[in-house]
């Protein structure tokens, strides 16, 4: 029994190693969702997506306000930036009747796919007429958006007064 536990533990460590080696940094997870305008699905809304280090790509909502953006990974390139500390700017601008809306301004801080939604598929519902952006911190990332999605925000870490009150090196 004990042997079995040890073997499965070793296998677990080993498989984690393989997993860690195979993670491709994800710059922006695949996103699907619905764009609303005054509470109703908005068709023909142009969505421009700008990911740091990448060209702009775009999509358009269908008659149900539905859209899809595919996942974007970091490509290997000689002069590409090396994410030694991963932090990627993500911006999606929605354009409806020539008016621009800042639908998504984010900084992704973990390289895993779907880090924006803690591993679940990123499915959003957005309201262009929202007066103030929703602010979320997820997996150390920051997201100012006109959207909501099924995710819990990071817990706050209490740093007290911020000073080292233990008295050492005062």
């Amino acid at each position: 029994m004990f042997k079995k536990i040890i073997i499965s533990f070793i296998l677990l460590i080993f498989s984690y190693g393989v997993y860690a080696m195979s993670v491709k940094p994800c710059l922006f997870s695949g996103m699907t969702g619905v764009i609303n305008y005054e509470g109703k699905p908005a068709a023909n809304v142009r969505l421009l997506r700008k990911i740091e280090g990448k060209d702009v790509d775009e999509t358009i909502t269908d008659e149900n306000g539905y859209f899809e953006f595919k996942v974007v990974f970091k490509k290997k390139a000689f002069f590409d930036f090396l994410p030694t500390e991963f932090a990627v700017q993500q911006i999606i601008t929605a354009i409806r009747d020539d008016k621009e809306y800042p639908m998504w301004i984010g900084v992704k801080r973990h390289e895993e796919e779907n880090a924006e939604s803690r591993g679940k598929p990123l499915v959003v519902e957005c309201e262009l007429t929202l007066e103030e952006e929703n602010y979320m911190r997820i997996n150390d990332g920051i997201y100012f958006t006109l959207c909501t999605w099924d995710v819990e925000a990071d817990p706050k870490i209490d740093h007290g007064t911020g000073f080292d009150e233990s008295g050492e090196k005062s």
Partner: protein, 384 residues
């Protein structure tokens, strides 16, 4: 009074995301949510710097200056503390800068890594204006991770040269300056340096000797990491440093300083036939052997380095002199050269009288390059 590990590590982590937000309004909204009313932005508080080799200078936001709005328990407000937070390495351009081993002199007249120094100098004027605009500030806390740690170190040195009260907090920092700089800053800071690192963080071993970490003596904070091989995950501010120090006070973090190796241990390593691999122990052995052999050759690290005699020139010159003048030193120089050739993957017979100054210089240059590229490679594994 110093900042606690939780706050200093959070700031070092948060600067990455903050500096990526496209507007000050959003950055302020984020800061307010994170830190309540503990900080206020100084006006136009973004620091920018140019990094990269000649011809490919890339301008990026590198940090923030924040004024603290509240103090330690029982202290009146406003408390006169400000923090300056530097962002770390992120682009390939930064890494090319890091691989450059040219030195230049700081305000204290001592030699530091030229790449770090140029990056700091490009934001020095702005920093000066920002700090000058803060009223009644008596203490400045300099914080940074990775290259940001090197920038924070240079900032602390610059502030001390102006007789300001400064504290320094670095996480996974490279070695910023040569030994005389490290020793001088350690003395000037009088214990107000908090260096946090992992053995297996590849950035913490570059550049090699005579580059030296601060503090040069006394306590530093070595966090646990498994094994001897470098791993990118131990360099991560968000995933490795931040979670490990959260909730600690400086006195509850381990303060293990590795004891310096005896000459006997170094000599035994130089004579050994152990295969060189790019691991913490190998690099530290190499680092110590370099220090030992150069000292045997009568080498004294120059306090200032002129353009006509670079750091590598001065080292190569000392080794050459050691080969011709001191028989005891020559033996160790030959053994060191053999080790260096092995690391560089060159199979070559080594004869003392055939080692020219130019050859030794080239060897040292390639060694620095090799350590930098291996560290870079270690950072890419698992990420690319």
């Amino acid at each position: 009074m110093s900042l606690n590990p939780t706050l200093s590590s959070k700031l070092a982590r948060d600067v990455y995301a903050l500096s990526k937000l496209p507007s000050l309004r959003l950055a302020m909204a984020d800061l307010k949510d994170r830190y309540g009313n503990q900080f206020s932005f100084a006006e136009s508080n973004m620091l920018t710097a140019k990094t990269g080799p000649i011809g490919i200078k890339i301008s990026t936001a590198f940090g923030f200056v924040l004024e603290m709005q509240s103090g330690p328990k029982g202290k009146e407000k406003p408390n006169g503390h400000a923090v300056i937070v530097f962002r770390g390495t992120e682009s390939a351009a930064d890494w090319l800068t890091n691989a450059n081993v040219m030195t230049s002199s700081t305000a204290s007249g001592l030699s530091v890594h030229d790449g770090f120094h140029q990056a700091f100098k490009s934001m020095q004027e702005k920093t000066s204006t920002l700090l000058g605009s803060l009223k009644n500030i008596h203490t400045i806390h300099c914080i940074g991770h990775s290259l940001g740690g090197a920038l924070a170190t240079l900032c602390a040195d610059w502030l001390k040269e102006q007789n300001k009260t400064a504290y320094l907090y670095t996480f996974g920092s490279p070695r910023t300056g040569l030994h005389p700089f490290a020793k001088n800053l350690t003395t000037k800071m009088n214990g107000n340096i908090h260096r946090v690192y992992h053995r297996t963080d590849p950035v913490s071993v570059i550049p090699i000797w005579p580059y030296t970490h601060v503090p040069e003596s006394g306590a530093d904070y070595l966090l646990y990491s498994s094994g001897d091989f470098f791993n990118a995950k131990y360099h991560s501010m968000a995933k490795a440093y931040c979670p490990k120090v959260a909730g600690h006070s400086w006195s509850s973090l381990p303060t293990l300083r590795e004891a310096p190796k005896s000459d006997f241990t170094i000599m035994r390593w130089l004579k050994s036939k152990v295969k060189m691999v790019f691991s913490y122990n190998s690099i530290m052995n190499l680092n110590d052997a370099l220090m030992f052999v150069l000292k045997q050759s009568g080498y004294v690290i120059p306090k200032t380095i002129t353009s006509s005699l670079s750091l590598l020139d001065s080292m190569a010159y000392a080794l050459k002199k050691g080969l011709t003048l001191a028989a005891t030193a020559a033996k160790w120089i030959v053994l060191l050269v053999k080790k260096l050739l092995e690391i560089l993957g060159v199979v070559k017979d080594v004869k003392a009288d055939l080692l020219s100054k130019d050859f030794l210089r080239e060897l040292l240059s390639r060694l620095h390059q090799k350590v930098a590229t291996e560290a870079d490679k270690a950072l890419r594994i698992g990420l690319a």
